[in-house]
């Protein structure tokens, strides 16, 4: 056990592992690049749908069950299958990551909109706000805790799942784990696992700060509660 730890320290101390296209900085950047891309695409797809369903209240049952259904689908298998269908490249991995992130975002945004007090909505309409104004100035700010909780949980899941990009010959931090397993190099495997876990926890921490910043001060308690709920209903990548 002590040997494992000293090997790990030596691995992290070795300048070779910090240089070039397979060095730690390059792998971290690749991992972040896949994750940011997948998260942004997911937000662009999921949020308008969630807002539309949440505002109109139509399709609510679909929105609620979407994230339950998504939990049953093994991410790992989806990535391998999209790879067999589409071949080597970033696209199959992105498709799989997006398909897995979108449902929980829709579910949370929908839940956020539904939690907006009817009276608040009615008074906004009574004041003569148009539908757009109600959405932008009333519903979205009030639903923000759940919207952000959904994005946060999906992003953490994406960072975790992006590890599997390495299985289908892409880069990212999964490379160390997959190559290490293939070469029976336990030190490299563990270093990769530590890096992925650290990046994942950092993402969670960073997004919780962002959530604090964009959620109205009066809703911070709700925001914490919503994040816990979203995490409990969610899945690790």
């Amino acid at each position: 056990m002590i040997e494992v730890i000293t090997d790990l320290i030596a691995w992290f101390a070795d300048p070779v592992n910090w240089q070039g296209s397979s060095g730690i900085p390059a792998r971290v950047l690749e991992h972040i690049w896949y994750s940011v891309l997948a998260t942004v695409i997911s937000v662009v797809i999921a949020q308008p749908v969630g807002i539309l369903i949440g505002h109109t209240g139509r399709g609510g049952i679909l929105a609620i069950n979407l994230s339950n259904a998504a939990r049953a689908v093994p991410t790992f298998g989806v990535i391998l299958l999209t790879f067999l269908v589409a071949g080597i490249g970033l696209v199959p991995v992105l498709v799989a990551l997006v398909v897995l992130a979108v449902p929980s975002m829709i579910t949370n945004t929908y839940a956020g909109f539904r939690a907006v007090d009817r009276d608040v909505r009615d008074s906004a309409e009574g004041m003569g706000m148009t539908a757009w104004q109600v959405i932008w100035r009333v519903e979205i700010p009030v639903a923000m805790p759940l919207i952000m909780a959904g994005i946060r949980i999906a992003a953490v899941q994406i960072v975790a799942t992006a590890t599997f990009a390495a299985v289908v010959s892409l880069g990212g931090l999964g490379r160390y784990i997959i190559d290490g397993l293939a070469q029976q190099d336990l030190t490299q495997v563990l270093a990769g696992a530590i890096l992925v876990a650290a990046l994942s926890l950092l993402t969670e921490f960073g997004l919780s700060r962002l959530q604090k910043a964009v959620v109205s001060n009066g809703l911070q308690a709700e925001s914490e509660e919503a994040s816990m709920e979203a995490k409990l209903e969610g899945s690790t990548g």
Binding site: V73, L80, T236
Partner: protein, 216 residues
């Protein structure tokens, strides 16, 4: 094209293998969820008895849950090699967050007048827990078990990368041979298993909570 994408003759020729992996997948799901519940239950009782424990316990379970699956699996290798335990320990740890939280919330959700009535009837603390509070908490606890089970079924496949895997072995077989059929069979069976387990647990809840059934 359609024929090469899905090959029924492979399915027919490998029913034994498919069945074996499915059985393995079920074992790798039932054991962690069962162990997880055995761990979460005393933790939940302790959290109710000593409320200051709850938040730190939930915090630790939450951090464990945020660790990517593949990372936690391989971190186990120095301790347990490529044995079944390498799959089972992380899978068990992942269930703790939802099981602990739902058991606590379920038990806390028992109305205080019910608790007082039981006390007035002379129930001891232990008898009250098992005869009154636990049965009333069943719907919330089962909701937690359903989420934990469905999640676990999806994670098991990943352990194919560390020599376990159940249906995940069919994924890897299809992937390595560039032959989609086993991969599709594995995916379909994995989703079907999750749906069946979810419905099964709903059935358990139905049996355990006769008072919740609508008359007529």
């Amino acid at each position: 094209m359609a024929q090469s994408f899905f090959d029924w003759s492979w399915v027919m020729g490998n029913l034994g293998e498919i069945w074996a992996q499915l059985a393995e997948h079920i074992i790798l799901t039932v054991v962690p969820v069962g162990l997880g519940f055995l761990m979460a239950f005393p933790m939940a009782l302790a959290s109710i008895r000593w409320p200051r424990l709850y938040s730190p316990l939930l915090g630790v379970a939450g951090i464990l849950f945020s660790i990517p699956t593949l990372a936690l699996f391989v971190i186990m290798i120095p301790f347990t090699g490529l044995s079944k335990a390498t799959a089972i320990v992380p899978l068990t740890l992942y269930t703790l967050l939802i099981l602990l939280r739902n058991t606590v919330e379920g038990l806390k959700g028992v109305p205080s007048h019910v608790r007082e009535a039981a006390e007035a009837m002379g129930y001891t603390r232990t008898r009250q827990l098992f005869r009154i509070e636990l049965p009333l908490a069943v719907p919330v606890i089962v909701a937690g078990l359903r989420i934990a089970t469905v999640n676990t079924i999806a994670y098991v496949a990943i352990t194919a990368l560390i020599g376990q895997g159940g249906l995940g072995n069919l994924f890897m077989d299809g992937f390595l041979r560039q032959f989609p059929t086993p991969l599709i069979v594995g995916l379909v069976l994995s989703v079907a298993l999750a749906v069946a387990a979810d419905l099964g647990l709903l059935g358990v809840q139905y049996v355990l909570t006769p008072w919740q059934r609508n008359p007529g």
